[in-house]
C-alpha cells in the first residue's frame, strides 16, 4: 500500500500544471470561448506538443502507454485550468473506444492524427427519451450491401461540432455496435450548442447514412463491453478533473478570505467563514482520495472497479456541489459575475456531476450492487 507518486509522475504533474497555468490563464480561456469553435486550437496543439494526447495509447500506436494515475494527473491539471479543449472527448472517450475495441488498421488510420492534435473525435451515445447514463440506445445499424446503414438521433455529444470523426453507438440486432462515422459524410447533420460550462456539445442526426464494413469497431455485439470500460475510465478522469477544479476554487476562495476586508478586518477572520472553508477543504481531500481510488481501480478486478468508480463519482458529485456553492457564496456578488473564474469552476463542477451518471445514479447503482464494500 503506497500512495506516493513516482519521480516521473511527480514531474509529469508539475510540468503539466505549470504549463497550463502559464499558457492558459483565465483571459485566454474566455477568449477561446468567444471564438467560432468555442475552444482554442492553439492551446490544444500545445497539449499535443507536450505529448499529452498520446499518453494513454500503446507505444506501438504512437502513444506512451500511460496508466490511470498519469491520466489522473493530467485531468487534474486540466481541471485547474478549466480547459474546454477536446481532451476528454477525443482522448478519453473516443480514444478509449479506440484503445479497447479498434483493430490495428483502424488505430493506424486515426491515432497518429489524434496524437498530433489534428484529428478531433467525439463519442455520440446519449439519446433523448431513453434511460440516461445507461448503454441503451434506439439508434439502429442495419447491415446493407457489405456495410451498415445508420439511423437515429444523439444528444449531448461533447465537442461533436468540431469532430472530424464520430464514434456512434447503435443496435445491430446482435447487440450494441460502435461505428466510426465521418462527421462530414452525407446523412449526418450536426447542430452545435454551447454547454453552460463552456464545453461545446452537439445534437447529431443520422438519416440513412451508410458506412463500410470497416467502420465497425470490433464485432457487432462488442459495444456494451467496450463502453462499460470506457465509461468507467471516463468517470475516473472526470473525478480527477473535478479535483483540479475544486482545488483551484478552494485556493482562490481562501486567498479571497485573506484579502477581502469588511468591517475593518479580513473576512477570513470570521469563524463562520473559516469553518466553511474547512468544510470545503474536507470535501476536496475526500474527493482527492476517491480520484486516486478510481485511478488505481481501472486495471483491477471488474466488480471492485465498478463499485469504486461509482463511489468516486458519487463523492465528487456531492463535493463538487458543496465546494462550488460555498465558493460562490463566500465571494458574495463577485462569485456570480461572469468575469470571475470561480463561477466558471462552479459550472464545470456542476456539469461533471451531470455527465456519465450523477450522484443519485451512482448511489442507486451501488445500492443495487449491495454497497461499496463487497460482502465478505
Amino acid at each position: 500500500m503506497d500512495f506516493e507518486l513516482t519521480d516521473e509522475q511527480k514531474m509529469l504533474s508539475e510540468t503539466v500544471t505549470r504549463y497550463i497555468a502559464e499558457t492558459y490563464e483565465f483571459s485566454k480561456r474566455e477568449h477561446a470561448l468567444r471564438g467560432d469553435e468555442g475552444w482554442s486550437r492553439e492551446a490544444y496543439a500545445g497539449l499535443a506538443e507536450m505529448g499529452l494526447l498520446g499518453l494513454p495509447f500503446a507505444e506501438e500506436d504512437g502513444g506512451f502507454g500511460g496508466g490511470g494515475v498519469e491520466m489522473m494527473l493530467i485531468m487534474e491539471a486540466i481541471g485547474r485550468g478549466l480547459m474546454v479543449e477536446p481532451y476528454f472527448a477525443t482522448v478519453v472517450l473516443a480514444g478509449g473506444v479506440l484503445r479497447h475495441g479498434a483493430s490495428a488498421a483502424q488505430r493506424a488510420g486515426i491515432v497518429p492524427g489524434l496524437v498530433a492534435g489534428e484529428h478531433i473525435l467525439a463519442l455520440a451515445h446519449d439519446e433523448a427519451g431513453i434511460a440516461r447514463h445507461t448503454l441503451a440506445v434506439r439508434t439502429t445499424a442495419r447491415e446493407t450491401g457489405g456495410g451498415w446503414t445508420l439511423d437515429g438521433a444523439k444528444i449531448a455529444v461533447i465537442h461533436g461540432q468540431s469532430a472530424d470523426t464520430l464514434i456512434v453507438s447503435a443496435t445491430t440486432g446482435q447487440g450494441l455496435g460502435l461505428f466510426l462515422v465521418d462527421a462530414r459524410a452525407e446523412g449526418v447533420s450536426i447542430e452545435g450548442a454551447r454547454g453552460y460550462d463552456g464545453v461545446p456539445v452537439a445534437s447529431v442526426r443520422l438519416s440513412g447514412m451508410t458506412v463500410g464494413a470497416d467502420a465497425l469497431i470490433g464485432t457487432a455485439g462488442d459495444g456494451e463491453a467496450i463502453l462499460d470500460k470506457v465509461f468507467d475510465e471516463a468517470r475516473a478522469a472526470l473525478a480527477a478533473e473535478a479535483v483540479g477544479a475544486m482545488a483551484e476554487t478552494f485556493d482562490i476562495t481562501v486567498d479571497y478570505l485573506k484579502t477581502r476586508q469588511q468591517f475593518g478586518v479580513a473576512i477570513g477572520s470570521f469563524q463562520a467563514l473559516q469553518h466553511r472553508a474547512v468544510d470545503m477543504l474536507m470535501q476536496l481531500e475526500l474527493s482527492r482520495s476517491m480520484a486516486v481510488l478510481a485511478a488505481l481501480s481501472l486495471g483491477g478486478e471488474v466488480d471492485q472497479r465498478r463499485r469504486n468508480i461509482a463511489a468516486a463519482k458519487a463523492q465528487i458529485g456531492k463535493s463538487g456541489r458543496i465546494v462550488g456553492q460555498e465558493a460562490v457564496q463566500m465571494h458574495g456578488a463577485i462569485g456570480i459575475t461572469a468575469e470571475y473564474k470561480v463561477g466558471h469552476a462552479f459550472k464545470r463542477l456542476t456539469a461533471i456531476d451531470a455527465l456519465l451518471g450523477d450522484r443519485d445514479h451512482h448511489l442507486a447503482r451501488l445500492a443495487a450492487m449491495g454497497g461499496v464494500y463487497a460482502a465478505a
Partner: protein
C-alpha cells in the same frame, strides 16, 4: 501508487487476526457485539492479555514496551482489533499518560509508573476539564500552591471519565496566575486516595455513568509528581493531545458497525419489519454512508502512506478527526433508525437465541453516548478553528 498491502503486511494482518480470534474471551466479544457497557474488570483483563503478547502499548518507544511498527502495521492492527470486536485498552493509560511519561517523565517516574500503566495495574483518569472552561481549556482555575515539598490543590474538575475506577489522575493545575493563561499551568500526577479528593458521579443521557466531578479540598501532592517543568504543563498537554495519525479516523470501528448494520438490515427485511420502500430507501442511505466511509478510509491510508515516507502534517490528516467522528455518529444514527420502535426497550441485553436482540436494545444508548465523540478531545468546532489557522492561514 498501489492499493494492495505487501505480502509482509498481509502476513502481519493474518497473525494479528489469528491472535484476536484466539485470545479475545467469548464473553467480552459478546459484550462488544451487544454494545454492553464494559466493567472495569473487563478492560483490565483484556489489556493484560494484550500486554502479555506485547501489544498493549504498541506505539510507545520500544524501550518502554512499544513495537517498532510501520504506520501501515499500526493501521492494520487497529482495523483488525475493531473488526474482531475487541475492546481497546484504556485510552488514558495507553494513549495519554504513557506517551507523556515516556517523553517528559523523570527516571523515577518512568520506573514507578510505565510498566504498571501498560499492564493496567494503575488505572488512570484525566483531570483537564473544568466547569466554565470547556474548549477554552487554558482558562482552568484549579490551583496548586507550592508549600514546601508539596503542592496544595483546591478547585474542581469535571467530565472526568472513569474517575470512579481510577487509582491515579494526571491533570493540569494552575501554579501561577500572573502571565498569559497558557503559562502558569503545571502537569501533576496524583494518587486518587489522597485525602481531600471527592468524586461525584454524573449520569449521562445514555443512562450510563462514565463521567464524574472531582473536587479538591487542600489536597497535598508531592512536588516529585510534577511532570516536566513547573508552569510548562501546557506544552505537555499539547503533546498528549497530538493524536496518533494512523488510527485517528477509526475506520475499523465504523466498518464493524457497518457490517452489523447490514446484517440487521437483512434480518429486518427477511422478517417483514421493513417494507420494500423502506428497504430501498435504506439501501440508498447505506450506499451514501459507505461512499463517505470509503473516501475517509482512503484518506486515512494516504496519511499512513505519507507517514511511512516521512511526510509531515498534511491537509488530509486534519480532516480525519472531524470526519471520523461524524461517520461514527452517522452509523449509530442509522442503527437507531433501523431499530425503530423495537429500539425503545433498552434492557433486553443478551436475549438467548437472538443474536441481534442485544444490538437492537443497545441502539439508543449507543446513539446517545456517541454524541460525545465530536465534543471531547477538542470539539469538532475547535478542530476546525485549528485547521483554519494552521493550514489555511486564516
Amino acid at each position: 501508487m498501489n492499493l494492495d498491502f505487501t505480502p509482509e503486511e498481509i502476513a502481519f494482518r493474518d497473525e494479528v487476526r489469528a491472535f484476536f480470534r484466539e485470545a479475545l474471551p467469548d464473553d467480552l466479544r459478546r459484550k462488544m457485539i451487544d454494545r454492553e457497557h464494559l466493567e472495569k474488570d473487563d478492560t483490565v483483563r483484556w489489556q493484560r492479555i494484550l500486554n502479555a503478547r506485547g501489544w498493549a502499548v504498541t506505539h510507545w518507544p520500544v524501550q518502554y514496551g512499544g513495537q517498532a511498527w510501520t504506520p501501515a502495521q499500526r493501521y492494520i492492527f487497529q482495523e483488525e482489533m475493531a473488526l474482531a470486536h475487541a475492546p481497546e485498552g484504556s485510552p488514558f493509560n495507553v494513549n495519554m499518560i504513557g506517551p507523556v511519561l515516556c517523553r517528559f517523565g523523570t527516571d523515577e517516574q518512568k520506573a514507578r509508573f510505565l510498566a504498571a500503566t501498560a499492564n493496567l495495574d494503575i488505572w488512570w483518569c484525566q483531570g483537564f476539564s473544568e466547569p466554565g472552561a470547556g474548549s477554552d481549556l487554558a482558562s482552568l482555575k484549579t490551583s496548586a500552591v507550592r508549600d514546601g515539598d508539596h503542592y496544595v490543590l483546591n478547585g474542581q474538575k469535571i467530565w472526568t471519565t472513569q474517575a470512579q475506577h481510577a487509582d491515579w489522575m494526571f491533570g493540569l493545575f494552575r501554579t501561577d496566575n500572573s502571565g498569559r493563561k497558557q503559562q502558569g499551568i503545571s502537569f501533576l500526577l496524583l494518587d486518587m486516595g489522597t485525602p481531600g479528593i471527592t468524586v461525584r458521579p454524573i449520569e449521562t443521557i445514555d443512562g450510563g455513568h462514565d463521567a464524574n466531578e472531582v473536587f479538591f479540598d487542600d489536597v497535598r501532592v508531592p512536588v516529585a509528581n510534577l511532570v516536566g517543568e513547573e508552569g510548562k504543563g501546557w506544552d505537555v498537554a499539547k503533546h498528549l493531545l497530538g493524536s496518533e495519525r494512523s488510527g485517528i479516523a477509526r475506520i475499523g470501528l465504523s466498518k464493524e458497525r457497518l457490517s452489523q448494520l447490514r446484517s440487521l438490515e437483512r434480518r429486518l427485511a427477511d422478517d417483514g419489519t421493513l417494507t420494500t420502500a423502506e428497504q430501498q430507501r435504506l439501501a440508498f442511505k447505506l450506499a451514501e454512508v459507505e461512499v463517505e466511509l470509503r473516501a475517509l478510509e482512503l484518506t486515512q491510508l494516504r496519511v499512513v502512506s505519507a507517514d511511512a515516507h516521512g511526510g509531515g502534517a498534511n491537509a488530509a490528516a486534519s480532516i480525519l478527526k472531524v470526519k471520523g467522528t461524524e461517520m461514527q455518529q452517522r452509523m449509530t444514527e442509522l442503527v437507531l433508525e433501523l431499530a425503530g420502535p423495537a429500539g425503545l426497550a433498552t434492557a433486553a441485553h443478551g436475549a438467548p437465541g437472538d443474536p441481534d436482540q442485544g444490538w437492537i436494545a443497545a441502539a439508543a444508548p449507543f446513539y446517545f453516548t456517541m454524541r460525545k465523540v465530536s465534543i471531547f478531545g477538542g470539539s469538532n468546532e475547535i478542530q476546525k478553528n485549528i485547521i483554519a489557522k494552521t493550514m489555511l492561514g486564516l
